[in-house]
């Protein structure tokens, strides 16, 4: 693994909560540069995971936006043809001001209920497995014993639960801010169908 558990915790605490806002901000900007929002977001995470030290980062949200911006600008520079539209957009890649304030406390509470609602909305089996595994802290084996299912099935439900929750929170609630490229849609429907088949099995 290329980065530490501490870095994962840092990303989870400081970066992931702002992913939905980043996607929204990237939306039109990435598209007009011929980029997928997903690709920019992933590259941003890859960079934040790989930098040596994050201790100097004072405002992680701004830093994340800066990294995403540099990803967009770099690919603009790599592109042979830059349209006028894109140049105009490069100038408006201004990062929105968002000074951290004590009012965040309230925002955090709202965030927690958003997460709670997302957990409640998981498919039944996913929710059960997630609750036992994460909230009650049972091991994969103990969850399997408790529910009378195979450990591999527990893993599948956990994977699905985490992926769904990640998309629900990371894409801002219900996937409205998601990049809807044909590639994504194809993948989505395939995976959805596969998992439905698994559930029937």
């Amino acid at each position: 693994m290329s980065f530490s558990r501490e870095r994962a915790a840092w990303l989870g605490r400081n970066v992931f909560p702002h992913e939905a806002a980043l996607r929204q901000w990237l939306g039109a900007r990435a598209a007009s540069a011929g980029l997928e929002v997903d690709d920019v977001v992933q590259e941003t995470y890859a960079i934040l995971a790989s930098i040596d030290n994050v201790d100097h980062i004072r405002n992680a949200r701004t830093y994340m936006f800066e990294v995403a911006k540099s990803v967009v600008l770099q690919s603009l520079r790599r592109a042979r043809i830059v349209t006028i539209d894109v140049q105009a957009n490069a100038q408006v890649l201004d990062i929105p001001e968002d000074a951290p304030s004590p009012e965040r406390v309230v925002a955090d509470r709202q965030e927690l209920s958003q997460v709670a609602a997302a957990i409640a909305a998981l498919p039944d089996r996913c929710r059960e497995v997630f609750t036992l595994r994460k909230i009650q802290g049972l091991s994969q084996r103990q969850v399997a014993d408790t529910l009378g299912i195979a450990q591999s099935t527990v893993e599948k439900h956990m994977v699905k639960a985490l992926a769904i929750l990640t998309n629900t929170i990371g894409r801002g609630g219900n996937g409205r801010n998601a990049a809807s490229s044909p590639r994504d849609q194809r993948n989505d429907s395939e995976t959805g169908e596969q998992s439905r088949q698994r559930e029937r099995a």
Partner: protein
């Protein structure tokens, strides 16, 4: 993608790797497979980092008590009774049935098993609050910088605290007392929720939120505390016992939600509080500024936001230098 339940194959694969890394079940062969997968496509590295980040984010949400916010579900499965928001509605049958091993320790905590004593060590690092479910249905929430060892024995449940602050939600079990050792003080419980603070110099404070607790130190007779009672047992000096209002008891436990009440503290005291949660230190050189008082509930993770609020309230200047935030008079 209008349906949030649909996820793409890449995200699903990344989530699988993140969960395996988190569970610590990778052997060297798996590690190599993960490295190969990450190297295979630049998008894999990012998707994996994102999944690790999301997993850590949900762990933190769980540690902050997200389970208490989850709306109740239609009882579609027998297990739903165990996921109800009421904290001690945990079904014992479930725990005893499922926990074949000695301790079901949470994924959230760094867990070290001492095979000789059968005890498990739980640690909350700087800047984190960790809630861990125990095998008996009890739960321990550790404030930043706290370490406890847990030994679940047939006749007693024993927790030893070396320093820090922890909240205990104890599952009722009259046959098996729950004993917390904090420095020289022993706290014996039947089933309740209480807060223990142990300072670096051995001062202990116990606050009972629910139920009853017996506190004993040295050879003195045990003191019985009820809900709302707080007892301070300094390493040196007289024991002080007081009755707190429900609001005061709540405020003492705010750190479990990532908040702290700094009402009535001086800026110097507040800076010391933040030093427990963050490596970004608030520095106040001017003694007159250090003595200014503040009020309010603040996020433990946001020293910069606090400094700005204090600066606004007292017309101060905030300057930042690497890992320090300096508060000074204008």
């Amino acid at each position: 993608m209008n349906n949030p339940d649909s996820v793409n194959a890449l995200d699903e694969r990344a989530a699988q790797w993140a969960l395996r890394v988190d569970a610590g079940t990778l052997d060297s062969e798996d590690e190599a497979a993960l490295d190969a997968w990450v190297a295979a496509d630049p998008r894999h590295a990012g998707a994996f980092a994102r999944a690790m980040a999301a997993n850590a984010y949900f762990d933190r949400a769980v540690a902050l008590g997200v389970d208490r916010e989850i709306p109740e579900h239609e009882p579609s499965a027998p297990l739903d009774t165990s996921v109800a928001p009421a904290r001690r509605a945990v079904s014992r049958r479930l725990w005893l049935g499922g926990a074949a091993g000695a301790i079901a320790a949470s994924l959230l905590a760094a867990v070290g098993l001492n095979r000789l004593t059968g005890s498990t060590t739980l640690t909350a690092d700087k800047g984190t609050v960790r809630r861990t479910a125990l095998q008996d249905g009890s739960a321990v929430t550790l404030n930043a910088g706290t370490e406890v060892s847990v030994a679940m024995q047939p006749l007693e449940r024993r927790i030893a605290m070396s320093a820090g602050e922890a909240n205990f939600d104890v599952a009722k079990d009259p046959a098996r007392p729950f004993i917390v050792e904090a420095g020289a003080v022993r706290i014996r419980v039947i089933g309740t929720s209480f807060l223990v603070h142990l300072s670096d110099i051995g001062d202990v404070a116990v606050t009972v939120r629910e139920g009853r607790v017996e506190v004993r130190t040295g050879t003195s007779p045990p003191v019985l505390l009820a809900a709302g009672d707080r007892i301070a047992l300094p390493a040196h000096g007289p024991i002080v016992r007081e009755q707190l209002s429900a609001g005061e008891v709540d405020r003492l436990g705010l750190w479990q939600r990532g908040e702290m009440d700094l009402t009535g503290l001086t800026l110097a005291d507040a800076a010391r509080q933040y030093a427990r949660y963050s490596d970004r230190h608030i520095v106040i050189e001017d003694p007159r500024v250090a003595q200014l008082k503040i009020a309010g509930i603040f996020s433990t993770s946001d020293p910069a936001g606090f400094a700005q609020a204090a600066a606004l309230a007292h017309d101060l200047r905030v300057t930042r230098d690497h890992d320090t935030i300096i508060l000074s008079a204008k």
